[in-house]
């Protein structure tokens, strides 16, 4: 079953893409933040997908 027809696989793919984007975003923003030593924020899957939605 392809990701187009399987909602579980589609969600997995979307979450994985959003994770990559979030990691890239945090990497870049951390250079600009006052506290550059802070640990990168880790979001739950729902939060990640919600954040990704705001980018479109």
């Amino acid at each position: 079953m392809s990701t187009e027809t399987n909602p579980y696989l589609r969600r997995l793919e979307e979450t994985s893409e959003a994770k990559k984007k979030w990691a890239e975003s945090e990497w870049l923003l951390n250079f600009l933040r006052s506290d550059t030593g802070q640990k990168p924020r880790i979001l739950k899957d729902e939060e990640l997908l919600e954040w990704d939605q705001t980018l479109h």
Partner: protein, 269 residues
């Protein structure tokens, strides 16, 4: 490979050219610095052109050497990736840099931090390049303090924001700016005050209520004169009443305040 090559073989000098898109083809891992940056900063390439001038050897080594850097492109790169929701500006009025954080609030940053990000991007690119890409300039020359300073300096004009960027009515909000007080003052008038014929709202009461809102939001206290200057026009607009100095309250004369306006007891969120 010496600098004379650029003179004797100018046809080997290449600017970034977008790859023709083939249907059904997976996007390939970028194999040159130009493609690496173009993949991430497409809009900036469209406006400012090729990130680097590359020299490509046409012999079997297929070596790629970076001859020159496009300062304008990298200045615009510091403006951030819109596909990630990033936005960095130079606020000329305050001569200060701001970046939009993930909470959508613009926060101050510095020229040094921007230079750090610029150097990190070049380093990341260098580390992901195949062996045929000469990394000397990418690693050393273009990451020098001199070039980084030139990029950040150019970015001041490329990323300059107008003086109304953080206005109280603009969609952009920054941390620790007078606009936060202005926004709150507007909210205070809109949501905490109401028309009440015959009632008197004393300036002192309004100021105390506003001060407690500031405290609640961990904002800097505001002088009473500044508060007055801020809310008088808002109250005039909203309720069509002016601040008076001749009101009588509980037998006291010469009280300052507004007639026909009342302070609600609920606090806006």
């Amino acid at each position: 490979m010496g600098p004379d090559i650029t003179l004797t073989r100018p046809h080997n000098l290449k600017l970034y050219q977008p790859e023709p898109f083939m249907m059904g083809q997976e996007p390939q891992q970028p194999e040159t610095p130009n493609r690496w940056f173009a993949l991430r900063y497409k809009e900036q390439v469209e406006v400012y052109g090729s990130p680097f001038l590359e020299l490509e050897e046409s012999d079997s080594s297929a070596q790629v050497l970076l001859v020159s850097i496009n300062i304008d492109f990298f200045a615009s790169v510091l403006g951030g990736r819109r596909d990630l929701g990033h936005h960095i500006i130079y606020f000329e009025q305050d001569m200060a840099w701001y970046y939009k954080d993930t909470d959508n609030i613009f926060k101050p940053t510095t020229a040094d931090k921007l230079a750090n990000q610029y150097r990190a991007l070049l380093m990341k690119c260098a580390s992901e390049m195949p062996a045929n890409v000469d990394k000397l300039n990418l690693f050393h020359e273009f990451r020098s303090d001199k070039t980084a300073r030139a990029v950040v300096n150019r970015a001041k004009s490329v990323l300059a924001a107008s003086s109304d960027f953080f206005n109280a009515t603009s969609p952009h909000q920054r941390i620790r700016g007078i606009e936060l007080h202005e926004r709150l003052a507007r909210k205070f008038v809109d949501e905490l005050l109401s028309a009440d014929p015959g009632n008197i709202l004393m300036l002192q009461d309004a100021y105390l209520a506003f001060s407690s809102l500031l405290k609640q939001r961990e904002l800097e206290p505001l002088k009473r004169s500044d508060f007055k200057a801020m809310v008088v026009p808002y109250i005039k607009d909203e309720f069509n009443v002016a601040l008076r100095n001749d009101l009588v309250v509980d037998g006291r004369q010469g009280v300052r305040g507004w007639k026909n306006v009342a302070l609600n007891q609920t606090v806006p969120s």
